[in-house]
């Protein structure tokens, strides 16, 4: 079993909901980013700005695991790479070595609170108790492994049952994120990768990322970027599906 994620670049509506969901789920301090939505300008007419969601790639051959001198960064049998903050010495070698730059060193100065200069809110205080972040150590996305573990303990299936699925996947209103088992050739993500020629970021590094992208290549060539119309159409289709579901559930017109 190896958990992975597929990101549909056409369906992604750049809403930042995945970023917000992660921040809420893990009570991330302001200076901390686990998933990101990065943007750049292109020279394709009508596509001056494009965005791509990125997060820790949970590499199969993770350089961060290999270089950690304290063995604080570990890889589980299900492929999830995580940091044991009780062991991490804060040398930041993993931050430097990650070619995707998806790790953040958490220092006190990155934690001024959501309202710097004011007392922490009750939400922040509660968050500190529920999900304590250890200053002086490194953090990263771990595919919400606590949700996966708790869900699987109840017999739920990650990627299918919301309770066992990463928060960002649950919250994606356009269903641009798909989560599942890469080792299972019948799983939804394996089929998506196979049918839509899923690609990884910088495969030449030999890190074998578990995050794949589909529907649209990333680059400057005109055919490589999903046209805005296609994104809108996908989004509208999704909204109409949701509307239809709502009608079925609530029985209203």
């Amino acid at each position: 079993m190896r958990w992975g994620m597929v990101i549909n670049l056409v369906k992604c509506t750049r809403c930042h909901a995945c970023v917000a969901a992660c921040r809420i789920e893990h009570f991330l301090p302001l200076g901390m980013n686990w998933p990101r939505l990065i943007a750049w300008e292109t020279d394709v007419p009508g596509q001056e700005l494009t965005t791509v969601p990125v997060r820790c790639n949970q590499c199969k051959e993770a350089p961060c695991v290999e270089v950690c001198p304290a063995e604080a960064t570990k890889k589980r049998e299900d492929g999830i790479v995580y940091v044991d903050n009780d062991i991490c010495v804060g040398c930041r070698y993993c931050v430097v070595v990650c070619p995707y730059q998806n790790r953040t060193f958490f220092s006190r100065d990155k934690d001024p609170g959501y309202f710097p200069g004011y007392q922490r809110t009750r939400f922040e205080k509660a968050g500190r108790k529920l999900f304590p972040h250890v200053a002086g150590t490194t953090e990263k996305c771990d595919f919400c492994m606590e949700r996966i573990d708790a869900g699987m303990a109840k017999g739920l299936v990650p990627g299918k049952d919301r309770e066992a699925t990463p928060a960002c996947v649950n919250t994606c209103q356009a269903r641009a994120l798909t989560f599942g088992d890469l080792d299972d050739p019948e799983s939804e993500i394996s089929v998506l990768i196979k049918e839509k020629n899923g690609f990884q970021l910088h495969p030449e590094y030999g890190t074998e990322p578990s995050v794949y992208y589909i529907d649209g290549k990333i680059g400057n060539a005109p055919s490589n970027i999903a046209p805005r119309e296609a994104q809108t159409a996908a989004h509208m289709q999704h909204l109409s599906t949701m509307e239809e579901r709502a009608r079925q559930i609530f029985g209203k017109k």
Binding site: E66, G90, V97, T207
Partner: protein, 315 residues
């Protein structure tokens, strides 16, 4: 017009979209890594040169630089310095895969073996226990400390060389450049030991320094040329060194102070048929040391990551 409208509500992020500098190991607290790495080169280089010419004072100073300057600064940089012990066996077996962990082990071995060698090489102690007992121990631990010092001197190069995202560092030649630059700095410092009345020959050190400086100049030029061919981002790093924000440090610090000044002074002594004057030697030692700081600064500062999406910006 549409572009203007777009920019009004959202500014393009620079993060990993364009080539991005590594900051963790050179900015803010990262300056400590720069300083610690420089002391690594100076200490290990001096120890190796002193071992070669059997200079007890050189060994002592090299050992002190590593143990009391390099290691404390390096550990102080950690986010959790008191967890330092977790990087070593039996708490961690990371030395099997991590050059960082290996470097820490080399430093510990060096500290231990070097200390024993220094004790059994100390003249008063040798007189006390006799040559027949002291000498075998001194030389045995000298070999062990020498290998450890080599490890200490070279591991920083391997640490950086392993970073695939930074093409300028990801060169096979980097550990060699760092190691030999350290030895050249060791020659510079051993001149200081000789000048201060220690047990080192200044003329010998000058001769050694002369050859090594030439080798280092060739090595740095080769490194820059070969790195430039590997990727556009590595080329960008080189451009930053030659005519960008790091040009002052490169040309004045590394090339002029670190290579040209010591080379000219050693050439003067060669053609004048003896040792250079004390003033010139002091200038050469200072220039060598400043050059060591400049080399590490330049390497760390121009570490630039390849963007996440190479095709976007043709990298």
């Amino acid at each position: 017009m549409s572009q203007m409208a777009t920019r009004q509500w959202m500014t393009t992020h620079e993060w990993m979209v364009k080539p991005m500098h590594q900051r963790e190991w050179i900015e803010r607290r990262g300056i400590m890594i720069w300083i610690a790495e420089t002391f690594t080169s100076l200490g290990a280089g001096l120890y190796l040169v002193s071992l070669f010419i059997n200079s007890w004072w050189g060994l002592l100073i090299g050992w002190l630089i590593i143990m009391f300057l390099k290691l404390p600064i390096h550990i102080a940089y950690f986010g959790k310095p008191w967890r330092f012990y977790r990087t070593m066996p039996p708490f961690s077996n990371a030395w099997k895969t991590s050059w960082f962990a290996r470097g820490i082990l080399f430093s510990v071995f060096f500290g231990t073996f070097g200390f024993i060698q220094l004790v059994f090489g100390q003249p008063d102690f040798v007189n006390l226990i006799g040559n027949s007992i002291a000498n075998p121990i001194y030389y045995t631990f000298g070999v062990l400390a020498g290998f450890s010092a080599m490890g200490v001197g070279i591991y920083g190069g391997f640490i950086m060389n392993y970073v695939k995202g930074i093409p300028f560092w990801n060169q096979g030649l980097l550990p060699v450049v760092i190691m030999l630059a350290g030895v050249a700095d060791g020659f510079g410092l051993i001149m200081g030991v000789g000048l201060a009345g220690g047990d080192a020959s200044v003329a010998w050190a000058e001769a050694g320094s002369r050859y090594l400086l030439l080798i280092n100049i060739l090595l740095i030029v080769t490194y820059l040329i070969s790195a430039g061919y590997t990727s556009a981002v590595a080329k960008l790093s080189i451009q930053e060194l030659l005519k960008g924000p790091s040009a002052f440090m490169f040309w004045v610090g590394l090339i002029f102070l670190g290579l040209v000044v010591p080379a000219v002074i050693s050439a003067v002594s060669l053609f004048s048929g003896g040792e250079a004057s004390s003033v010139l030697l002091i200038i050469a030692i200072a220039a060598h040391t400043l050059g060591a700081f400049a080399l590490k600064y330049c390497i760390l500062k121009v570490g630039i990551y390849r963007p996440l999406f190479p095709r976007v910006a043709a990298y």
